[in-house]
């Protein structure tokens, strides 16, 4: 753990042991020449303190226990948790721009990513469809190859897929979580969070390691996701969900919003399509648009699949499938094969990555 200077130590003390609001803490930071004076007592003599703080606040500040603070610092060090304060050099510049920037971040993993400027927030629904999964995976794959760092919220669905895809392709990723590090939510993503740290990613949180996931943490977490990034990619979002809150923040912070369109009948794409209709974001059809925005020259995209090696039967199945998702029975009738042989063939094609099986015995050809 990096050693904290007196100022940073004071900020940690205020954040961890008092209930002062962000605004009040920032006023103190800006106006007190040396923050560590709060440990000295007789705060009420300082005019600016008297103006901003209430009696209760001052009592709370006077009650800060330095021994408890040092124990907490040792505790964090033991868990390899770093402290990034508002006044620190490594505090992300993007984040500092916004009004509601947190004064303190707990961080775990590769701290170099804090100074990374080409971040992209990838957000979407927790209950994504196969379409959302495919789009997220393929976009992230191309983006991380061009050194774009993926920022997301380590939630289920699109968030987790984005993190996974970034790690799978050797890319960098930042996860901003809405709870303490010891209470990853949803808990199933604990393994993913460990992977992120191991593979050179970064975990950030505004909350103390033991903090529980509370519902109001998540919209607050979203402001950090939006602020850290240059642009935001909205993959699948139903109406009025967390992903759209992140989009609102991105617009508020003057970040570019990229939106992946969906079918107008899809519940999960309603939010995205609305954003496009209201001209609140740029519709993206390929990762290239995003790369252009980041000023990256596009290299080595995957070549289209080689179609020469297909057997006659495989070609027939692809032809039957066309662009639609088809039910097994429909394929069975159209192909005229026996059930057993068709099962074997479909399995083989699935292994070759030509088609994909979806829940409910639906098959779809792999488009991307």
């Amino acid at each position: 753990m990096r050693t904290l200077n007196n100022q940073e130590r004071a900020i940690l003390g205020i954040c961890s042991q008092t209930s002062l609001s962000l605004g009040k803490i920032k006023t103190l930071i800006y106006n007190l020449p040396d923050l560590s004076t709060i440990f000295a007592g007789n705060l009420s003599n300082i005019p600016i303190v008297r103006q901003t703080l209430t009696e209760n606040d001052i009592i709370e500040l006077n009650n800060i226990d330095e021994r408890r603070l040092d124990a907490f610092i040792r505790h964090l060090a033991k868990q390899n948790i770093e402290i990034v304060t508002f006044i620190s050099d490594i505090y992300p510049k993007n984040l500092k721009e916004i009004h509601s920037a947190p004064v303190l971040l707990y961080a775990k993993g590769n701290l170099d990513l804090l100074s990374n400027s080409s971040n992209l927030a990838v957000v979407g629904t927790r209950r994504c469809t196969n379409y959302g999964r495919e789009v997220t995976t393929s976009f992230v794959k191309d983006l991380v190859k061009h050194d774009i760092c993926i920022v997301s919220g380590l939630a289920d669905g699109v968030d987790a897929i984005a993190h996974e895809a970034a790690l799978a392709n050797g890319g960098k990723t930042i996860a901003v979580i809405g709870s303490g590090f010891n209470n990853i939510y949803p808990s199933i993503n604990t393994a993913l969070s460990e992977q992120i740290i191991k593979k050179g990613g970064l975990l950030l949180s505004e909350y103390e390691p033991g903090e529980k996931p509370n519902s109001y943490h998540f919209p607050a977490r979203n402001r950090i996701v939006a602020a850290l990034s240059m642009a935001l990619l909205l993959v699948e979002a139903p109406e009025r969900r967390g992903a759209l809150i992140t989009k609102e923040y991105a617009m508020e912070f003057n970040r570019e919003v990229f939106v992946v369109p969906g079918r107008i009948t899809d519940y999960c794409s309603k939010g995205c399509n609305d954003v496009i209709q209201l001209c609140q974001g740029t519709m993206v059809l390929s990762p290239k648009q995003i790369l252009d925005y980041y000023g990256k020259t596009v290299v080595d995209f995957d070549k289209p699949k080689d179609v020469a090696q297909l057997s006659l039967e495989e070609e027939m199945i692809l032809q039957i499938l066309g662009v639609n998702d088809l039910h097994y029975e429909a394929i069975l009738v159209s192909s005229g094969m026996s059930s057993g042989n068709l099962n074997a063939l479909l399995m083989k094609m699935e292994l070759k990555n030509l088609i994909k099986k979806l829940p409910g015995n639906i098959y779809t050809s792999v488009k991307i």
Partner: protein, 510 residues
């Protein structure tokens, strides 16, 4: 005077010989029964007394002592009323002892002297026959189940007086006529037929494979998609029972008292579907007397667990060992018995708490976490023992324009019978009779695949994240698929098809 008679007791599904010794002495009138007997035998005193009096015989007003040897085995049940009553008559000189000596006597008495039906006659007769005993007196109500055992003389009696009359040679009791098992086998009718199930081709194919190789199946699908209907139709494609198998099952059902007295023997493979509130004991068997449970009653047949995640976790976990070994050992204070439990498990479940995950007609409202939690109710080791995971869906088949021309069960059964015949030939020197019960050595011997197949399988494993335990399961299923196709070797399409039935290993479930 002393009289000694033969009768039989049951330990598990095997019978053992019991001697009933009755001694009548001078002294204060009384009745004493010894030899570690249960309450129902102790109570027999009053039944016997009334039955003897009401049959116009003399109940001796003397000291009566009854001993049941071996004295160190706990004996239960009312089937010793008749032998004790005959013993008292012999000891009081109303019946010559040497007339009774050659017979094994079993039966419960009513107060008016009728001989009532008892449980467990079939396994007793089979064991007694193996021990070389040839003459039996049994209740008339058990005549049917006794009629499948040839080579011994069985005399069914309906009253105590008839039994005595028969032993004295005064009454003529006809021997039980031996029935041929094959004659009654073909009288069985099928209620649920696959021709009534529209579509569901994957499920039907998978059940065909399961029937042919004795594999376990899990049907996953939304409510109303036909899981239960498919499972209920499953017995209609199971291969016919052989006589030995039928006897084995009937023995268990005879002990449990669930044998139909009009048939006397099971002619269909049992289909047991215990409710999901079933306790561990109800499934495995047990209780004070270590009675067989559902899994033993499903021996050589089907155990159907509808809505599997609703079952108590403990109950499900107890299935693990019997699924592997095909037997269950129940240890109780008064008995330790081993029951066979070689069943095909058919389980059904919804994919998520609301049931609509993957449904094309209804929307699922569950979060990924809820779905994981629901599927997590089934432990990994249990899932590993299920070879075929099938998704059943409630597609509107009218939309798919499929003609309602479905294959009837008898057609499918013909293919199953052919595949089973191949297996019976293959395993004729070993104790198992189906591909699903192959041990490691047999898998190596009979499930050889060439290098290309091996490569394909390895690739599928990496891609679909299959568990290593699933490897042998896939090979066994592939063997059955090859048998259904009449192919001596396992080819790549057989392996591919086998892998396609492991859909729960697929990633979208996790």
């Amino acid at each position: 005077m002393l009289a000694i008679l033969n009768t039989f007791g049951l330990s598990g599904i095997d019978g053992y010989k019991i001697k009933v010794e009755v001694d009548i002495n001078q002294g204060l009138p009384g009745y004493e029964i010894v030899g570690l007997v249960g309450t129902s035998i102790k109570e027999s005193k009053e039944r016997i007394k009334s039955a003897i009096k009401n049959s116009k015989y003399q109940y001796p007003i003397l000291k009566i002592i009854v001993n049941m040897a071996p004295a160190d085995t706990k004996k239960e049940g009312p089937m010793y009323d008749l032998p004790i009553a005959l013993g008292i008559l012999c000891a009081s000189d109303q019946l010559p002892v040497d007339r009774v000596r050659d017979y094994v006597v079993l039966g419960e008495l009513g107060l008016n002297g009728t001989v009532n039906k008892v449980n467990g006659i079939l396994p007793i007769l089979i064991s007694a026959k193996q021990m070389g005993l040839t003459k039996f007196i049994i209740p008339k109500g058990n005549e049917k189940e006794a009629s499948f055992i040839g080579g011994i003389d069985i005399y069914p009696v309906s009253t105590l007086a008839e039994a005595v009359g028969f032993l004295l040679g005064e009454v003529d009791v006809p021997k039980v006529k031996v029935q041929d098992f094959k004659d009654i086998l073909h009288n069985t009718e099928v209620h649920n037929d696959f021709k009534y199930v529209r579509g569901q081709s994957i499920a039907k194919r998978a059940l065909e494979i399961a029937a042919a190789g004795g594999h376990n199946v899990l049907l996953i699908g939304p409510p109303g998609s036909g899981k239960t209907m498919l499972a209920k139709a499953f017995p209609s494609i199971l291969p016919d029972l052989t006589f030995d198998e039928a006897l084995e099952i009937s023995k268990i059902h005879s002990i449990a008292g669930t044998l139909d007295s009009r048939m006397g023997i099971l002619t269909k493979r049992p289909f047991r579907s215990p409710h999901h509130t079933a306790t561990v004991i109800a499934l495995t068997g047990g209780g004070r007397l270590a009675k067989p449970g559902e899994i033993s009653l499903a021996h050589n047949g089907v155990l159907f667990l509808d809505e599997m995640p609703e079952y108590n976790r403990n109950s499900l976990e107890t299935l693990r060992q019997p699924l592997e070994d095909g037997v269950i050992t129940i240890s109780r204070l008064e008995a330790t018995v081993e029951y066979p439990a070689n069943f095909t498990l058919i389980a059904s479940m919804n994919p998520c708490p609301c049931g609509n995950y993957g449904s094309s007609t209804k929307e699922c409202k569950c979060t990924p976490q809820e779905i994981r939690k629901y599927l997590g109710k089934l432990s990994g080791p249990l899932m590993d023992r299920i070879d075929l995971h099938i998704e059943v869906d409630n597609v509107n088949y009218n939309d798919l324009r499929i003609e309602a021309n479905e294959e009837p069960s008898c057609k499918i059964k013909e293919r199953v019978d052919r595949a089973r015949a191949i297996q019976l030939e293959r395993f004729k020197d070993s104790s198992n009779y189906s591909n699903s019960k192959m041990d490691d050595r047999q898998i190596r011997k009979y499930c050889k695949i060439d290098d290309d197949c091996e490569e394909l399988l390895r690739f599928a494993f990496e891609k679909n994240n299959l568990s290593a335990r699933g490897y042998n399961r896939i090979l066994k299923v592939a063997r059955t698929i090859a048998d259904l196709a009449g192919s001596p070797d396992i080819k790549d399409i057989h392996v591919m098809e086998a892998i396609s039935y492991r859909s729960l290993d697929n990633k979208y479930w996790s």
